[in-house]
């Protein structure tokens, strides 16, 4: 039982990171129906910004988190402006291919500048662990979960209580109608990319602190898994992305812990296939009103 609870703790920490990345996927899909494959790489660049800040300026966790989020915001908005906006009226497959190209561009540009070698974060959080019976929770795990929860609450607030959030919801339901109502569609889309990218940047810093290892190709797998998480929860649906992320994290951990860790990735993608066959809208997909 203790071991099971420990595995759940591990799963929630991992799942929180997937959830943060999945939120960006799902928001961007919700608003312009684009699966932004470069999203995993924005997460990678967030991790490197955090690395640079903590290593070269000796700032602490929160400044690093905020600087990385700001950096990724700028990057995400720029990518949208340069790569996706000119293709706004092109076929969806053209934008999708551009997204894949953008993903490789970010990966290999980073590799050119920082090299392929893994890098490690300096110790910026204390090495404290808390014992609850036989269950160990370390300080990094607490930071990950708390940061993720705080950001998700903030997102819910933005989407449901602010004017911009209302605009985002309106654009996701009907772009033309929203425009007729006086909503600036381009600004709203930029804002969505900004929030999604900031969350990915935060996830990057959290991973750097938690696992202490970053490399230019680190965004590939988590990016794909976050995509599965977004589909699992119902793509375009914000609470769905949170549930999907946590679900995938816990599922992976339990498969590694009680089954065979070699089947972990296979199981995640098998789940994707099953969802697409059985319930293509995902867990919460029906609730189209919540779409952003």
């Amino acid at each position: 039982m203790d071991q099971f609870l420990q595995q759940i703790v591990n799963g929630i920490s991992l799942g929180s990171i997937y959830a943060l990345i999945a939120l960006g996927y799902t928001m961007i899909y919700g608003i312009i129906k684009l699966i932004n494959f470069a999203h995993g790489d924005i997460y990678m660049i967030g991790a490197y910004i955090g690395f640079a800040v903590t290593t070269y300026t000796n700032l602490g966790f929160f400044p690093a988190l905020i600087i990385a989020m700001a950096g990724c915001t700028v990057l995400g908005v720029t990518i949208e402006k340069i790569a996706y906006r000119p293709l706004r009226n092109a076929s969806r497959i053209a934008v999708l291919i551009t997204a894949i190209g953008m993903s490789f561009f970010l990966e290999y540009t980073m590799m050119f500048f920082v090299g392929a070698e893994v890098r490690s974060y300096p110790m910026i959080l204390s090495k404290k662990t808390f014992n609850f019976g036989d269950i160990l929770i370390n300080i990094q795990q607490i930071y990950i979960v708390l940061t993720a929860v705080a950001l998700m609450i903030l997102l819910q607030f933005i989407v449901h209580k602010t004017k911009t959030g209302k605009a985002m919801r309106a654009v996701s339901v009907d772009k033309e109608a929203a425009q007729l109502m006086g909503i600036n569609v381009n600004t709203t889309i930029s804002f969505t990319f900004a929030i999604g990218s900031a969350f990915a940047g935060a996830a990057g810093v959290l991973v750097g602190i938690y696992y202490n290892s970053i490399d230019p190709l680190m965004g590939m797998m988590p990016g794909l898994k976050a995509f599965v998480a977004a589909v699992f929860g119902g793509i375009g649906n914000i609470p769905g992305a949170m549930i999907g992320g946590l679900g995938i994290g816990i599922m992976e951990t339990l498969i590694s812990g009680y089954g065979n860790s070699m089947y972990r990735d296979a199981a995640v993608f098998a789940l994707l296939i099953i969802i697409l066959i059985v319930k293509p809208t995902g867990l919460l997909g029906k609730n189209t009103r919540e779409k952003v």
Binding site: Q3, Q6, Q7, N10, G11, S13, L14, G115, A116, E117, V118, R119, S120, M123, K127, T129, L136, N138, V207, Y211, N212, S213, D215, L217, M218, M221, E252, T253, L254, I255, S256, G257, Y258, N260, S261, M262, D265
Partner: protein
């Protein structure tokens, strides 16, 4: 339009043949005063750490030899190329070195897969190749049919010897009765080590309680570590490379697993310490080619000279590269010529070569007969070393 294109092509051809002639003349002249050695290493890409270190060691050895007058009065000219950690690239570079650059022998690549890809080129061109760190069991110096690859040599022990040594170290030195294996399932190197560890450890009366696997690039090992934490065991055997091993060790210690962790030469990188942190690197042992703790004056002189030149402490790949540079020079000297076949015979006949990674002879299978060092880490620093001789 077409005519001008033909003319242009013809012109390129003519110029090309002129330059080719020029090259030939160069090598012809040069032969009298210098000997070219190919240095084909992974200078960028996934395993650049190993390639870069080997190259630094080799070049340092060549500089020393050249400063002392060269071999048989000839200056050694290294022709360094970067195979980008890619087997196809390594093969085409080996071909270029052997057919266009006119090298007398080729050194590298550092890793088994890339090294093995260049074997057919060496056999086809009749030019000896030597690697200081290709530790794979099968298909290196002996081909699939059990025949010796005449032109292929190496300076390091193979993986099975490392697996066997670590199993013996666990059961004899650490008095372990039970072990858990966590292996990198995406690498033949790790799987070979795990297989040999398992058979030796069980033969000595030990039990393997659990076998877990991971894939290269994985970052989260908490799940498998939590599941083994519930079991009773004396040691963890962790064959794999430092990128993942560092994280496994860190996460294991964070979860409160204090059992000794054993590994092999894949642990040998300063990055292991960065990833795991000094606190986690206690009771960690790995087999290696050389130890900086060795008090032999030859080793200590090498360490001092290396620090002087590059400003860092040498690791095993630096030491192996350095030995490799000295080793090929030694063979050329004994061969008394730069003819590749003469060098090959001299390499095969090496006895009691004295290097910083130990004194060794080349056996009939073109593998060295040399001892292994088991290094123990305390707070991330190499604190103990035990030498194990081949049986």
């Amino acid at each position: 339009m077409k005519k001008s294109l033909v003319l242009l092509l013809a012109l390129i051809l003519v110029i090309g043949s002129f330059t080719a002639c020029g090259d030939d003349a160069d090598t012809g002249d040069a032969d009298a005063t210098e000997v070219k050695i190919g240095v084909n290493y992974e200078l960028t890409g996934a395993v650049a750490t190993y390639g870069e270190a080997s190259k630094d060691g080799i070049l340092m050895a060549f500089e020393e030899i050249n400063a002392a007058g060269g071999v048989n009065g000839l200056q050694i000219v290294p022709v360094t190329v970067d195979n980008k950690s890619d087997a196809a690239e390594a093969t085409s570079l080996a071909t270029r070195l052997m057919t266009q650059e006119g090298v007398a022998a080729c050194l590298g690549p550092a890793t088994s897969g890339n090294y093995m890809a260049t074997i057919p080129v060496a056999m086809g061109n009749g030019i000896p190749i030597i690697s200081a760190s290709a530790t794979a069991d099968d298909g290196v110096t002996v081909d699939a049919n059990g025949n010796i690859n005449e032109y292929v040599f190496r300076l390091c022990f193979n993986d099975s010897f490392q697996g066997v040594t670590m199993a013996n170290f666990a059961s004899e030195n650490l008095e372990a009765k039970t072990a858990v294996i966590i292996q990198d399932n995406s690498s033949d190197y790790a799987k070979g080590l795990a297989k040999n560890f398992k058979s030796t450890f069980t033969d000595a009366g030990g039990t393997i309680v659990a076998e877990e696997g991971y894939l290269s690039k994985d970052k989260d090992f908490n799940a498998i570590l939590t599941s083994i934490k519930g079991k009773e065991f004396d040691v963890i055997f962790l064959p794999g490379y430092y990128q993942e091993a560092g994280l496994v060790i860190k996460q294991a210690r964070d979860l409160g697993i204090t059992a000794p962790i054993l590994g092999a030469d894949g642990f040998d990188s300063p990055v292991l310490l960065e990833l795991a942190g000094a606190e986690a690197l206690n009771d960690v042992y790995f087999s290696n080619h050389y130890s900086s703790q060795d008090q032999d004056p030859l080793v200590q002189d090498f360490i001092a000279a290396f620090k002087d030149k590059y400003g860092t402490e040498p690791n095993a790949f630096h030491a192996l590269g350095y030995d490799l540079g000295k080793f090929i020079a030694d063979a050329i000297e004994r061969a008394g010529s730069t003819d590749p076949d003469a060098i090959k015979d001299a390499l095969a006949g090496t006895t009691n070569f004295v290097g910083v990674t130990g004194t060794f002879s080349i056996g009939e299978d073109h593998n060295p007969i040399k001892s292994i060092v088991v290094i123990g880490l305390e707070d991330g620093v190499q604190a103990t070393s035990v030498k194990v001789d081949p049986k």
